[in-house]
């Protein structure tokens, strides 16, 4: 209590009451945090528990099978083609989004005149980030699968996921570009650099960690997306991974969320465990991506 022993600074009922309110508020905030963390732990714990005994190294290196007994005792059935499919998808999506996202962000922040049109575009990019992924799936289906005539192939999948996360990447990249202090730009202009040199030598290197962090987090969202892949007609089960050749771009592909969905909809009870094992693999990839993003952010945080 606030008894200091000095006259006039003794304990005070109103002050005590305010402190009580403060403590109640902190308690409520703590409970909210607890709720979120507990729900997450329960979910992850449950998935790991379900997958126990079904997940081993052969699960990562073998194609799926229709017979649950093939998934045990290292007999050789698993998630391999979908895992590789997802990695291909994510690498392609990363390449597309980095070029398009960084390009758009640099243009909007460094070059675009500050007009009403520019502001309108910027506001709507932020809005696009909130559009449900199924809508992007529809767009991908109409645009890449049908209009461009690609069919349900890897390239169409990557382009669709690119559309999905591009707004997030642009906004993150814009923030990173905006965070580069003007004094840095002035320093380069001051020794006779052109605008392009200032952008290439000063703005991009400083903004890159932020851009990478934002991009990886967005990709982590994309890798778990199922709805857009269903819309464009990705394969639910593939027995061979995509080939390591440019031709693979124009061939059907699978991805982890599709495979997990397929397993979970099988009638045999064992497949629930197999789906859980697939989820653990997916979550691990997600976690690794997030860890990379955090690592990059800390590494370059000055």
């Amino acid at each position: 209590m606030a008894t200091t022993g000095i006259d006039g600074f003794g304990s005070d009922a109103t002050l005590d009451r305010k402190r009580l309110y403060g403590r109640v508020f902190v308690g409520l905030c703590f409970l909210s945090t607890l709720f979120g963390v507990a729900a997450l732990l329960l979910l992850v714990g449950d998935v790991i528990y379900e997958s126990w005994g079904w997940l081993d190294l052969t699960f990562l290196t073998h194609p799926p099978s229709w017979f649950p007994e093939n998934y045990v005792d290292g007999r050789g059935a698993g998630i391999y083609p979908a895992l590789i499919g997802s990695l291909f998808l994510i690498v392609l999506t990363a390449v597309f989004t980095i070029f398009l996202g960084v390009g758009a962000a640099i243009y909007l922040e460094e070059y675009a005149p500050d007009t009403r049109v520019t502001r309108f575009i910027e506001a709507n990019i932020a809005n696009l980030a909130g559009v449900p992924s199924i809508v992007y799936g529809l767009l991908g289906l109409a645009l890449f699968v049908r209009a461009a005539g690609l069919g349900s192939v890897l390239l169409a999948g990557a382009l669709t996921l690119t559309l999905l996360i591009l707004p997030i990447v642009i906004v993150a990249a814009q923030e990173a570009v905006r965070a580069v202090p003007d004094s840095q730009r002035r320093a380069a202009y001051g020794v006779g650099a052109t605008k392009w040199e200032v952008t290439r030598d000063v703005v991009l290197p400083s903004a890159m960690p932020g851009i990478m962090t934002g991009t990886i987090l967005a990709l982590a969202r994309a890798i778990g997306e199922t709805a857009p892949l269903i819309m464009i007609g990705a394969a639910t089960t593939m027995f061979a991974p995509p080939r390591l050749s440019p031709g693979a771009l124009f061939e059907p592909f699978g991805a982890m969320p599709m495979q997990i969905f397929e397993w979970a909809s099988q009638p045999q009870a064992e497949f629930q465990h197999i789906a859980a094992a697939g989820s653990v693999v997916l979550l691990t990839v997600l976690l690794l991506m997030n860890a990379t993003a955090i690592y990059i952010r800390n590494r370059y945080d000055r």
């Binding site: 002035r186 320093a187 020794v191 006779g192 052109t194 000055r302």
Partner: protein
């Protein structure tokens, strides 16, 4: 065209009226290198500078002093067209560099800034190595032959070689504020500009670092023309040959030899400002 192409004959014809020789011990030629003619600068609708005309002598230190907001930085930025980077800024009038109006259509501001370097108030080294900081200007200007030599030379001239000569690979950001500012000066002088503009280069530094920078500026004047903005009256008196006093409203109230301005200003307002009665 690049400013380097400006014919020297043109420049000489612009400097037929020699400016008053100063009593300072700088060996400067004293010939006018920069002539500002009736410069007005506007930010949007507000006028920041009103009809500034002055002649800045070569290889001497010219100080710009005056109360906050009177347009010193604005004037400095109009000498290397850094105002071009501010969307709302508009400059009217002429600034002649060796007789060539830098606001002519055929002047490339990037080429101009290669001849007129700048040091800023806040030390702003790049997050790169000390070496790459100094080399940056040389590289973008295509002067990257004998790079090692030039980098060392610039660091020596900026009086910081003794402190960093053995750690050229470490980051420029790991230096102290005073060292960072001298590194920025090294970066500015490395490509050998003719003029160096400095906007309160010592205002963020402690007294020791400040006096190092002041000594350095006096040395630089033997090779370069230095135009410096300062809030520090003693600093202006100590290091400059000419002083320009700007007062609120963006006007140049008095310009002349530093000694005369400080000992016997013509204008009562300048006297009041210098003696600290306002500003």
């Amino acid at each position: 065209m690049s400013l380097d192409d400006t014919p020297t004959t043109d420049a000489e014809s612009m400097t037929t009226t020699p400016t008053v020789t100063t009593t300072d011990d700088h060996s400067g030629t004293g010939e006018t290198i920069i002539e500002s003619r009736d410069i007005d600068v506007y930010y949007g609708d507000t006028q920041a500078l009103d009809g500034i005309s002055m002649e800045i002598p070569e290889q001497q230190v010219t100080a710009l002093i005056g109360p906050s907001g009177c347009g010193k930085s604005t004037f400095l930025r109009s000498i290397n067209r850094m105002n071009d980077l501010i969307d709302t800024a508009r400059v009217e009038g002429e600034i002649l560099l060796r007789g060539k109006n830098i606001y002519d259509d055929d002047v490339d501001p990037v080429a101009l800034r290669r001849a007129v370097g700048m040091v800023f108030q806040e030390p702003n080294p790049f997050p790169k190595s000390i070496y790459d900081n100094v080399a940056y200007g040389l590289r973008v200007q295509g002067k990257d032959d004998n790079l090692d030599e030039k980098v060392e030379d610039a660091l020596r001239r900026a009086a910081i070689w003794d402190e960093v000569g053995d750690q050229l690979d470490s980051s420029g950001l790991d230096l102290s504020g005073g060292q960072q500012q001298r590194l920025c000066i090294a970066r500015a002088i490395a490509p050998d500009p003719e003029v160096i503009l400095m906007d309160e280069p010592a205002s963020a530094l402690d007294p020791v670092a400040t006096s190092q920078i002041e000594d350095l500026i006096e040395d630089l004047a033997s090779e370069f023309t230095v135009v410096i903005v300062t809030h520090n009256m003693q600093q202006a008196a100590r290091i400059s040959d000419k002083t320009a006093v700007f007062l609120t409203g963006g006007e140049l109230v008095e310009f002349g030899d530093t000694n005369r301005i400080f000992e016997n200003p013509n204008s009562q307002r300048v006297e009041d400002y210098i003696t600290g009665k306002f500003g």
